[in-house]
Structures are given as C-alpha cells and as structure tokens.
C-alpha cells in the first residue's frame, strides 16, 4: 500500500454561514448520534459538530445598531501539535489507554471500545470538541432504521468525537479499488457536514496539495484559527514560544471579514 500523502483539513467561511444548522443535523445522522429530549445548548450534549452562536453585544463601544451575530460550526479541529511530522495533539498525549491516536492522514482517531471513560482528553481539549456519552443512545421513532452500518453506535461511558467522517474515506477507497485504482492518494471524499452545507461555507480538502481550494483558503487574509494566539506573532517569537510550550496547531481554518470575531480569539 502506498504511503499516505494527504493531510485532510477544512476551511469554514463564516461570512457565508447562515447558521441553519444543516451541518450539525447531517453530522448526527451520518455518525449515528441520537438526539435526546433535552438537546439544547446544554454542555452535556452529545454531538460532534456544535454550532456556536457568538455575538459582540458585550463590547462596550457597540451601539444598538452595531450588534452583530455570527455562527461558528465547531467540530474536532484535528490538531497536530508543534511538529507536524511528529504530531502530538493535546488529547493524544494524555490518553492512558491509547484510545486516541493520529492517523496517517493527520486525522485524530477515537476508538470508543478502547476508551475507559476517564475524560482526560476531554479536559485537555482546548476546543471542547470531545463529548462524553452520558446516556445510552436512545433513538426516536424510526431513526434507528436509518442508522449507518459503517459507523458503530458508541456505548455509554465513552468519549467520542468527530473524525472527519473517516468511514466515508474508507467507503470511497473501496469504490476506487473496485474500479481498479490502488493508489490511496487518489481517493478524495467529502464529510457529511461539508456536503450538507447549502451555502458552500464548509470546504474540505487536502492541505498538503498546494492547488486545492482548502490550502488556498488557509493562506487567505481573512483566515484564522480558533483561539490560536500564536498565529499573528512574528516568526522568531513563534519559535521561542513553541520551544517552551505545546500549541495545538489545528487543521480547521475559519474565514471571517469581521474584526470582532478575530478579536474574540485573543485573550484580553
């Protein structure tokens, strides 16, 4: 098998996002996540993709008409740590049972059957992207008949998270193999959130491929990453900081033309 050269990443255009929540619903349906009766903005919500609503109404200089609202679809940011060649996301280094690991394509895996439910990874995650299964999955109505056979239904008491729909990649790989294409770098796919987005705000692709749209958007002027303060520091300061501290270095980029969203990402 050829070695994996892809590095999957995502770019989300917040200017295009309308906050419809189709990505969240598509994610839950694709990954066999149940919807519970108290499924609101509660912190115990079991979901991979959280649609955060952010607003600048707490900025003191904003008048009545200036208040704006934006939606940030937040899933696992697939961190790779300081060194991309030796990826060490914060969650992987704390897991005592090697239930979470970085795959060859840079996607952080989470194997719930190996998870003992200690929730160290959940505490170490800077983005709160990991969720703990507090309840046994309870499917309403005929939802259970539509479960995806490619994804296992996680058990109660384990941590789960978004894996960029890695089962879709495996499905596409099988389809390519059936056609006779044996190169795994030829396999391209789209996670369910990106394919469900009606405005095309979520772009998924290969960050190693310089021609791909996602690597173009990652270098865009509007691009930023969630609470990643090291990004706008000068190069030497970056090196000095990275020598003394671990940074998550996520692979999900957000694009926004609004300055207040970028200001939110900095600690005051």
């Amino acid at each position: 098998m050829a070695t994996m050269k892809r590095k999957w990443g995502m770019a989300i255009d917040l200017d295009k996002c309308t906050g419809c929540g189709a990505c969240s619903i598509a994610c839950m349906q694709e990954n066999n996540l149940p919807m519970f009766t108290d499924d609101s903005d509660s912190p115990k919500r079991v979901t991979f993709l959280d649609l955060m609503r952010v607003t600048n109404d707490r900025d003191t200089d904003k008048k009545f008409g200036d208040v704006e609202t934006a939606f940030i679809p937040k899933m696992c940011q697939q961190c790779e740590g300081n060194d991309p060649k030796n990826p060490k996301p914060p969650c992987v280094s704390v897991c005592p049972v090697v239930a979470t690991d970085v795959g060859d394509d840079g996607v952080v895996s989470q194997i719930w059957s190996r998870c003992i439910g200690c929730r160290y990874c959940q505490a170490s995650c800077p983005y709160e992207a990991r969720v703990f299964n507090w309840w046994k999955p309870d499917y309403e109505g005929s939802f259970k008949e539509g479960l995806s056979p490619d994804v296992s239904v996680p058990s109660r008491g384990t941590v789960i998270k978004c894996t960029f729909c890695s089962h879709i990649w495996k499905r596409e790989r099988d389809r390519m193999l059936a056609k006779g294409v044996k190169d795994i770098n030829a396999v391209l796919y789209t996670p369910s959130c990106a394919s469900a987005c009606p405005t095309g705000a979520i772009i998924f692709g290969d960050l190693n491929d310089q021609a791909s749209e996602v690597s173009r958007l990652a270098k865009d002027k509007r691009a930023f990453r969630l609470v990643h303060t090291i990004d706008d520091k000068p190069e030497e300061e970056k090196k000095r900081l990275m020598a003394i501290k671990h940074y998550p270095n996520p692979k999900v980029y957000y694009l926004s033309s609004k300055q207040w969203i970028k200001d939110m990402q900095k600690f005051k």
Partner: protein, 177 residues
C-alpha cells in the same frame, strides 16, 4: 475450619457457573459460534468437480466495492436451474431444498463476523497491491466437505501481525472508525 472454607468459597461456586453461562451465550452471539447452516454444502466438490473458478464465483463483490458475503438462493439457482430436462451430466442439477426459499433469501449464516466497530473491507484486503489469502482468516475452505467451522476466532493481533509484516500502516483508523 471446613465450614469456614465452604462459606468463603460458596459465593464463587454459585456465581462461576452463572457467569460462565452468561459469557458463553454473549460470546457465542458476538462471535457467531452457532451460525445456522440449514443446507449442507460441499466446497471441495464445487471447486474440483463443477469447476467454480475461484471463491469470487459465489462470494463476489457489489459494484461499489462491497463484499457480497454468502450467496443468495437466486445466485445458487443461476447454475442449479429448476428444469433438469436436457441437461448434460456436467451441468448442475436442480435442488429440491431450494423450493422453500425465495430468490433473495440467504439460507446460511456466516461464522466469520467482525465486531460493529471494525470497518473491515474485503476489497481493501483482497484487491490491493498486497493481497491476503482467503484461507488466512477463514481456514482452508476449499478443502472442506461440510459446513463445519474451520477457523473461528479473528483476533485483532492477527490483523496487526499481517500489517506489520507487510509494512502496512497499523494506525487505529485504518480499520476502526
């Protein structure tokens, strides 16, 4: 002294048989120990006598790369046609036990069963640059003359040994999701 010993070990004596029965039942259903094989089948004669080219004649793939698994009655009837008149001795005879089944039924259940959390793809293992043999997981089915189980357990270590030996990635996400 004797009484104390009995009292100490009594809970174990009571619980152990129960836990054995429970685990036996659970493992049996999880690992498909008691798969139903209602119709006898002879792998060896199908391959040697009737000239089935390879395993894929009956255990093939769908167009999208999914493994078909055990054949349906309809697929059996493609060779074992109902009308016997005018058949040469080399052609397959009609089988009366198929009368109770519809064409879409799968009479046999498989011994080989992967847990829910494994994304095992026959296509990825059998049709890739480095190919596995059917017998490395299923046993020598082409020599078997019954439907009895030859090789049951498929522990993860066996998969990982092969992957290590062939220098295929052993990252968790290669097989799990």
């Amino acid at each position: 002294m004797k009484r104390t010993l009995i009292l100490i070990f009594l809970p174990f004596l009571v619980v152990l048989p129960f836990s054995y029965v429970i685990s036996e039942k659970a493992c049996g259903s999880l690992m498909s120990f008691h798969a139903k094989k209602p119709i006898p089948f002879n792998h060896k004669s199908h391959i040697t006598k009737y000239g089935a080219a390879n395993c894929e004649t009956c255990h093939g793939y769908y167009e999208n790369g999914r493994f078909k698994g055990l054949p349906t009655v309809g697929e059996c009837k493609a060779c074992h046609t109902d009308n016997d008149a005018g058949k040469t001795p080399e052609q397959a005879r009609s089988k009366p036990f198929f009368a109770n089944y519809k064409d879409g039924d799968r009479p046999w259940e498989a011994f080989a069963k992967q847990p829910d959390l494994v994304y095992f793809s026959h296509m990825a293992v059998m049709k890739n640059e480095k190919q596995a043999r059917c017998s490395s997981c299923h046993g020598l089915k082409e020599d078997s003359m019954t439907t009895a189980k030859i090789k049951g357990k498929m522990p993860m270590g066996q998969c990982m040994d092969c992957h290590t030996a062939l220098k295929i990635s052993n990252a968790c996400m290669v097989c799990h999701d």
